[in-house]
Symmetry: C2
Subunit: 592 residues, 2 copies
């Protein structure tokens, strides 16, 4: 515990350094004021010995924080976040019992209370910073390392949950809250709530948060299907959330009495624009990135940068048109990955992998910590009835909608989702920083109940992250849910799964049903014939085709190393045969 304490004090010290300037840094850019006297001009009230002279003398040393304030504060934040991360993992007990996200929020709250008591500064998660800088790295990382096959195998179920599920949740929660505020029944609360305001609140509250889900599910490690259904839902529901939030917020501006049918029709139409547009921009940027990496043979050094920047640009471009940045960035990463990986060098690959993970990890850490701090500083309003009912509606409707939609999905699924699976999907529906950022954006002039919404949102976030996040791991163990089975598929498995795909496509063809496998086969043919030759270097295209030889060579090398380290050369003739046959193959390879 000693080291954790130490790091905590380090955190504190850093914050007090930062606190002094947090206001200045957000106002405007400043320019370096070189020259000894500029600083002196600024604080002319300073009583020093030089005051007696008519002109101020040249100074040996000076202190000028404002010049470097902005990057300095950002760097300190990153250092603090890193220190917090290191601190937790030094203490094994703590990190094995609680998820990192909970601990980070707690640290944030404690820091917030101390800062609040010391009354030094006001730190609140800035929605602008969150959406433009903290969220994109996490989404890019998630998209780039998305298990594509699992995603597209379960795309129907995922879309059902993310589109219909989020919509149902929004409507159910919104109307229920409004109804309870109007009726005088049990658990009712006497607030003059507007229906549209309730719907704005429920739209931001009903979306599962990808950041929270990633943080928790990374530690739980359930099987791939469960993971992709919950995580896929959290990523793809962004489109729905953006539309519903903007729609209801826009309609609130117009005013409930002025809303005409056309507005609602436009709202429904905008769903297709937001989802389709976001996805299209993402796919477009993905292909563009692939195309650029075709020509980086002589400038390997910028390969990782191209991937990061293009992914980020896809997010920004979508946001610029008020489309779904999350969808855009996700699909950009999914699209580019296969082609980029074929084009870039091994070193670039490692750099991309570890740097993306690093960026995402730091963003996540900062998000949870600042969420904790913001809790202290936000303007709250507590109404027991409304807050508790929001939480209960959230949990109950989530469960009900999951059960209802699973019943539909199971009619079409080959691998059905069991009752336990449904429980984990419902229980894993964590809320997080996106909801907080959206509620913080609401204008208190238009939404007089904004503080109440904010408090309720935080209650739901804390309940899902702390109670559900902490207990989901033991529950997964209790229900004996199949855990993730992480191993690289062997060559044998790859060959068989490929064959089965073709077989299934053939069967679908015979049955006259054009399903999943048929579409995949069609896409793969199109990909091999048109996309790959355009987006992958010719040289690497060839090498891919002969990848079976590479695998063979690697296996041989591995065997040789193993034999060497075991000191057993019993089966020498076999080894010799292997090496000969490999040499033949390589010879053949060269001739090609």
């Amino acid at each position: 515990m000693g080291s954790v304490k130490e790091i905590f004090f380090l955190l504190l010290a850093a914050f007090f350094v930062v606190s002094d300037c947090s206001i200045e840094t957000t106002t405007a850019d400043r320019y370096i004021e070189h020259g000894g006297l500029n600083a002196g001009d600024a604080d002319s009230t300073n009583h020093d010995a030089n005051q007696t002279h008519q002109v101020q003398r040249y100074k040996i040393a000076e202190f000028d924080f404002h010049t470097v304030a902005q990057p300095f504060v950002i760097s300190i934040w990153i250092v603090v976040a890193s220190a917090a991360k290191i601190g937790f993992h030094l203490n094994n007990k703590l990190s094995s019992w609680f998820p990192e996200s909970c601990l980070l929020i707690l640290v944030g709250v404690i820091l917030g209370v101390i800062l609040w008591a010391a009354d030094v500064t006001r730190i609140v998660l800035d929605s602008h910073t969150f959406f433009l800088y903290l969220l994109p790295p996490i989404i890019l990382d998630a998209g780039y390392f998305m298990p594509n096959r699992a995603l597209f195998d379960n795309i129907g179920t995922i879309l059902l949950f993310s589109v219909i599920g989020t919509l149902l949740n929004t409507l159910l929660i919104g109307f229920s809250l409004w109804g309870f505020s109007k009726s005088g029944g049990i658990g009712a609360f006497d607030l003059d709530l507007d229906l549209l305001h309730c719907l704005v609140f429920s739209s931001l509250l009903s979306a599962v948060d990808p950041v929270a889900v990633l943080a928790i599910f990374e530690e739980v490690q359930v099987n791939e299907i469960l993971h992709i259904v919950v995580f896929g839902e959290s990523l793809l529901n962004d489109g729905v959330t953006v539309v519903l939030y903007h729609l209801f917020e826009g309609l609130s501006h117009i005013g409930q009495e002025n809303v005409i049918v056309l507005d609602v029709v436009y709202g429904v139409l905008s769903f297709f624009v937001v989802v389709g547009g976001g996805t299209a921009i993402g796919v477009l940027f993905g292909f563009l990135t692939a195309l650029v990496t075709r020509f980086t043979d002589h400038v390997r050094v910028i390969e990782p940068l191209v991937v990061f920047v293009m992914g980020y640009l896809s997010y920004l471009t979508a946001e610029m048109f008020h489309l779904s940045g999350i969808l855009s960035c996700t699909f950009c990463a999914i699209t580019m990955k296969k082609y980029v990986e074929a084009n870039i060098s091994q070193k670039s690959h490692t750099t991309i992998k570890y740097f993306l993970k690093m960026l995402a990890s730091v963003s996540e850490t900062i998000i949870f910590m600042v969420l904790g701090i913001s809790t202290v500083y936000a303007t709250h309003r507590w109404e027991t009835g409304f807050c508790l009912m929001s939480l209960i509606f959230c949990l109950v409707y989530r469960a009900a909608v999951v059960v209802f939609l699973t019943a539909i999905a199971n009619r079409f699924r080959l691998v059905r989702l069991s009752g336990v699976d449904q429980f984990i999907i419902a229980y894993g529906g964590l809320r997080g920083a996106i909801a907080f950022s959206l509620v913080a954006l609401l204008d208190i002039g238009l939404f007089p109940f904004q503080p109440l919404f904010l408090t309720s949102t935080l209650l739901v976030i804390y309940f899902t992250v702390f109670v559900q996040g902490t207990t989901i791991k033991p529950l997964v163990g209790l229900f004996r849910i199949k855990r993730a089975n992480k191993h690289k598929p062997t060559m044998n498995e790859q060959l068989h799964s490929r064959m089965i795909d073709h077989l299934m496509a053939g069967m679908e063809d015979i049955a006259g049903h054009h399903g999943n496998h048929n579409q995949r086969l069609l896409f793969e043919n199109f990909n091999a014939r048109y996309l790959k030759p355009m987006l992958i270097k010719r040289r690497n295209l060839r090498a891919r085709g002969l990848s079976i030889l590479n695998v063979y060579q690697k296996l041989n090398e591995k065997d040789a190393r193993e034999m060497l380290s075991n000191g057993s050369f019993a089966d020498l003739t076999q080894l010799q045969n292997m090496s000969h046959s490999m040499a033949d193959h390589l010879h053949y390879n060269n001739l090609q």
Copy 2:
């Protein structure tokens, strides 16, 4: 050439997109304006169909550039820089004849002329951005991959050039320019120049630029001694430049007639503060980084980030106190490297290496391109006499000072610098973006000749980068200068060089002369006894001690692979013996 053209048009398109917003982005932070109507409020003059309604209707889609302007513009710049880099290397002839830096400046100038003609926007290299964001990655990269041994073996010569050399150049150029402006001799120019103004100008003009030197010398690949002397000088002269520039600029503020001796004494003292303080901050941050990486066993993912952020913080902290950020960052990287490398994982090592190279490369690209664009937009003033004399003084005094200082240095050097070496050192004294940024910072109110200084600085930069930068490669070939000999030292070489170090230290001891080798031995003892146990994980400390076994294992593995690929297992008994003896060693290793 087709592809180069294509990329050029891409560049243009990007710039026109960017141009529209470059002013807004620098003013202040903006917040995301969610909600359909906010944008509508802003441009209410917009004549659309909705104007007839009393309230504006909900919109399906919107465009809002301001929200994302800042990160979008930065991303576009990076994309443009990457595209320019890729473009050059697609054309082999171009990139083999001209250094990349020249081509990038040219592209910048062409872009600048087009933008100027189209009158869309005004892009000038912002000194604030340059010193705070573009320079640090380059310095961190340079420091981290500094050949330490070569640096400290030649530290005397390097310090002589960087401190005394820069000082001499500044005084000589400054006084000569002032003298010529006062006298009526040949080549004189009739300008009423202030002595202090001349000295400010000469102080920023006389420092060799690390960015320009790196860019050119990376392609030339002279031997290690020449490289480290020129490059070391360019890095370490920053302290002198900062002091002289601030001193003369500060004195100009005071006014020539008001300067008293105390100011000059303070100026001299501030040299020690700036250099000593900068170095101390760097070393401190270096040790701190090493200490942090001792505890990152469970959070490997943040290791690269810690290195980047701490290096950056060392730069910012030094700049905050108006000390030399370049010295601080360089020594931070030099100090941390050995300990950090011993602590972090192999993957983190690769990530650091490639990401640093990537950041530095992009920064460099942007710097040269914007330097080109700035040339077009800057406020110029051409005075043939003054401009040409600045250039001539720069070149002549550089050569004279190098010859003079080499004569002194050669008295103490074991490996003397030959005449040809001296020529390359003088010829490699390139000027670059630092000089431009400093001259751009001068206040035109106080320095009425600022436009003249700026034009002259650009002339010197262009001459050194274009003429000297392009011809240095053929000249190095012509003079048959020893090229860089890049190979990893074999175990044999390492052992011998270690033994010779000890031998030399012993001889120095006998001779009663406490020189270089003695100091190194002392430091290495201190390092092994106190620093390493504190800064390196215990486990890795042990592993280092047994590194000879690792080398042995690797050699064996290599042999096994080679035999396998050759298909020759003739000497099987030997291989078997090897594997057995290695197994024994590993066993011994485990017992330890």
